[in-house]
Structure formats: structure tokens, C-alpha cells
Amino acid sequence: MNDKDIQSRIIAIIQSIAPELEAGTLRADQSLRRQVDLDSMDWLNVLLAIHDQLHVEIPEADYGKLRTLNELVAYVELKLGAQA
């Protein structure tokens, strides 16, 4: 899975939690949770979906590195690379 696939999968996950989001409008370099109204429950559900669908373990300690979509994609790619 290259980073293009990972990004589209993550956007699809966010959309399943926040259906009103149009993928095009999302800025990959800005804070995700400010652009999309995700409270702590929504955010946990996003990480849960990433864990289920992309089989990536995300400990709470890493939350800080996952502010933007780019950071999230890079983090997942790194983890997937490590597992492959």
C-alpha cells in the first residue's frame, strides 16, 4: 500500500464518522480536528477504524504526532513498513 492508498483509506474512515465532510476541502497540512468537528469519541473511533482496517497499533502516547492528515499518513506508512 503506498501513501496515496493510505491517504484515501484514512479520508474514507473520517468520512464514515463525519459524513458531511467533502474530501476535496480537507487541507492535509493543517490540524485535522480543527477542520473536521471530531470530539474525543470521534477521534477514538477514527483510530479504532485505522487499527481494524489497516492493522496498525496506535498507542495513546503517539496522539501528539497525529495532528494533520500528512502526519497521520506518514505514521501509518511507517508502521506498515515496519510490519511488512
Binding site: 459524513p19 470530539d39 474525543s40 477514538l44 487499527h51
Partner: protein
């Protein structure tokens, strides 16, 4: 040049151990002659040779275990001498084409699609969830076998529908309802407000270590700890937990906390989380997750809407430092939690950076007064210093 290979001597023989040679290089052999003894799983067996010629080279040592088909020795064909043999050695032998063909596994007959005009194929699980979310299955196009409708199809449809529906009619309805309740509350209830800043270092540390031992699917949120602390604190100050009816306060037996949940595109619902005081954090987390999901999918049960004994609103990390809410009649109190973040704090005389949260109380002065409100907030603060007891 001929090759004498270890023959397969039985249906269940894969390898053999060479025990003994019965012939030496240079010795002539006839068809059917026993040339070696090989040990197998059952016992030692005489091995015959089916080619005529003279033994040239013995390639496997006594005592070696080799798989069936291994070349044990080479032979000179009658009339062949050593050096002509060397030239032939290089020609590769065609290996027998394997007899095993892919066996076509006959798939069991797939459930055939319902004849046209017949009602839709819907899985029992999907049908049950559709009934729960009162969704008309015929309006869904299925992704299951032959277009059958699966559970996922129903859940996805309901999520989209709720998201789409809110802006149209549901939101305005909801707005009206909230408006009516809030204005009645302001009209009738003499609110008083109190606030207290609560250090959260212990709670945060306890939560971090608790979550390390839990899989992601069971991870706890700080909000659950706050809800449980509220429930425990109310045990000391019961006059905040109940209803104002017929000009008198009625205390509630259990603590059913109305959790204020913001809808995705505006609107607010505060369904009840029942018996918060008596449930474990893990159970509360599960119930809270389910409550939020169903609230946002628009599938709350009526019982959950009608009977919270107090309400808690929590603006979370995106919220402000503090929030002072409006009580939901006929309740007599509302607790608010602001944004938790690290701020300066003095601990045993020394300044330090500590995660803090501002908890507020809006209460009905007819049912209680500032003194008991303050006792509640101090008790709430104390409870949050002992997260392991929550």
C-alpha cells in the same frame, strides 16, 4: 550411463536409510538382482535393481538417509566404458509430468437471487438492525451476494441518512425543542453558578497506564472518569440529583446522568447513561460509546431521553476553559467541564505546570443553595484525586 535411484517401496515411504551395499563398483548386475539393503519405517528391505549393467560409482554412503528418487549409484550400460559414460552424464532426464491435476472443487450452490418482483434478499442481522433504526430496507441497494442487503449496508445508510436529515427537518425541530426547554428553564429556574479548578495530574497518569493495558478497542476516555466522579460526589450531595415537581424537590434513587451530545450539524441531545454510580469505568465506556453512536444515528430509545436525573456537559479539547450551562427542567442541576490543559499551579509551595480542568455547577436555588453546591464541587475535586477508586 544409467542411474540407480532409491525406489519407493511402499505407499507410505518417503525416504530410506542405506544399510548395506550388496555389490561393488565394477561388478555386473542382472534385472531383479538385490543390490542393497535399505531401512524403512517398517523394517530393513532388500532393494532390487531393474537395469542390466556394471556398477560404476556408488554415490550414497552407508548410514545416510535419503529421500525416494535419490540416485544411489551409476551404472555403465553393457558395452559402455568409463570415458564415453562421462559425455552422456550431462544430458538432463525429462521428469514425469505430475499426475495430480487441480481438482475442481464444486462450490456449494450459492443461494439463488429471489425471483424478480419478490421482496429483497435481506440478511437476518440486517433486517433486525433496520427494524431498530426504522429504516425501510427496500430503499437500500445491497452489497451482499446477489445484491442482498447486509448489516453494513443498513448501518451505512442510516449514518448517511441521519447526517443528511439533520439539516433539513430534524435540526429545526430539534432547535425548537431546545429553545422551548431553555427558555422555560430560564423563566422558571433561579440558577446560581459555582466553579472550581481541579488538578488532573493523577487522573491523567492513571488513565495513561490503564489504557496501556487495554487494547485500542477498550481504551478509556477522560470524560468517563469525570462522569463517574460526578456520580460519586452526588452521593454526598443528593439534593442536586432529582427533579423539581409540584413545587417540591423529589430526590432520584439512582444517578442517571444526561450526557450532552452535540449532533454533527448542529443540535444537542442529552440522553441518559443509567446507574453511573454502580458501573465500572469499562462498562461506562462501552455504554457511552454506544450511546453517542446511536444518538448521532438518530436511534435513541425513548427511555433514554426522558429520565436523566442530572446533566453533564463536556466541551472536550476543542472547547473553552469553562462552561456554565442551562439546567434541563425538571432537573435541578447541570455540571460543566471545560477544556483540560496544562497551566501554572502551586503545589506545596512550588510553582509547576499541571493539567487542570475547570468544573462548573449550575443549580436550581429552589432545590439547593450555594453551600451544598460548593460541597459538591469540592467532593468532585477530591474524587478526581483518587482515580483508582473510580
Amino acid at each position: 550411463m544409467l542411474e540407480f535411484k532409491l525406489p519407493s517401496l511402499g505407499a507410505d515411504m518417503d525416504e530410506g536409510k542405506l544399510l548395506e551395499w550388496r555389490v561393488k563398483p565394477g561388478e555386473a548386475v542382472k534385472r531383479g538382482q538385490v543390490v542393497a539393503v535399505v531401512d524403512t519405517s517398517k523394517a530393513a528391505v532388500d532393494v532390487e535393481i531393474w537395469q542390466e549393467g556394471t556398477i560404476f560409482e556408488q554415490l550414497v554412503a552407508i548410514g545416510a538417509t535419503v529421500p525416494v528418487g535419490t540416485v544411489l549409484a551409476t551404472l555403465l550400460e553393457p558395452g559402455e566404458d568409463a570415458e564415453t559414460a562421462a559425455r552422456h552424464a550431462a544430458t538432463p532426464k525429462p521428469t514425469p509430468e505430475s499426475p495430480v491435476q487441480a481438482v475442481a472443487v464444486s462450490a456449494p450452490p450459492a443461494p439463488s437471487p429471489p425471483p424478480p418482483g419478490q421482496r429483497k434478499a435481506v440478511s437476518p442481522a440486517a433486517r433486525a438492525r433496520a427494524r431498530e433504526l426504522d429504516i425501510d430496507v427496500d430503499a437500500i441497494d445491497g452489497t451482499g451476494p446477489h445484491g442482498a442487503i447486509t448489516l453494513d449496508d443498513v448501518v451505512r445508510t442510516s449514518a448517511q441518512r441521519v447526517a443528511a436529515a439533520v439539516p433539513a427537518d430534524r435540526a429545526t425541530e430539534m432547535r425548537k425543542a431546545i429553545g422551548a426547554a431553555m427558555s422555560r428553564s430560564k423563566r422558571e429556574i433561579p440558577h446560581y453558578y459555582l466553579a472550581e479548578t481541579i488538578p488532573m495530574a493523577r487522573a491523567a497518569a492513571w488513565l495513561a497506564s490503564a489504557n496501556e493495558q487495554r487494547p485500542i478497542t477498550a481504551r478509556l476516555l477522560m470524560g468517563v472518569l469525570q462522569l463517574k466522579a460526578v456520580a460519586q460526589a452526588l452521593a454526598q450531595v443528593p439534593e442536586l440529583n432529582g427533579f423539581w415537581r409540584d413545587n417540591a424537590f423529589q430526590a432520584a434513587e439512582g444517578v442517571h446522568i444526561g450526557v450532552a451530545i452535540a449532533m454533527r450539524r448542529g443540535g444537542l441531545i442529552a440522553p441518559a447513561l443509567h446507574d453511573v454510580a454502580t458501573k465500572s469505568l469499562d462498562q461506562l465506556m462501552r455504554e457511552l460509546t454506544d450511546l453517542v453512536t446511536r444518538a448521532r444515528a438518530g436511534s435513541l430509545r425513548s427511555s433514554e431521553m426522558s429520565d436523566p436525573t442530572i446533566t453533564v456537559t463536556n466541551l472536550g479539547e476543542q472547547g473553552t476553559e469553562s462552561v456554565f450551562g442551562v439546567i434541563y427542567p425538571p432537573q435541578v442541576a447541570l455540571v460543566g467541564f471545560g477544556r483540560m490543559d496544562t497551566r501554572p499551579w502551586i503545589e506545596n509551595g512550588l510553582p509547576c505546570a499541571v493539567p487542570l480542568v475547570t468544573a462548573s455547577l449550575a443549580a436550581d436555588h429552589r432545590a439547593s443553595d450555594g453551600h451544598s453546591g460548593a460541597r459538591f464541587l469540592i467532593e468532585l475535586r477530591e474524587r478526581l484525586q483518587h482515580p483508582e477508586e473510580l
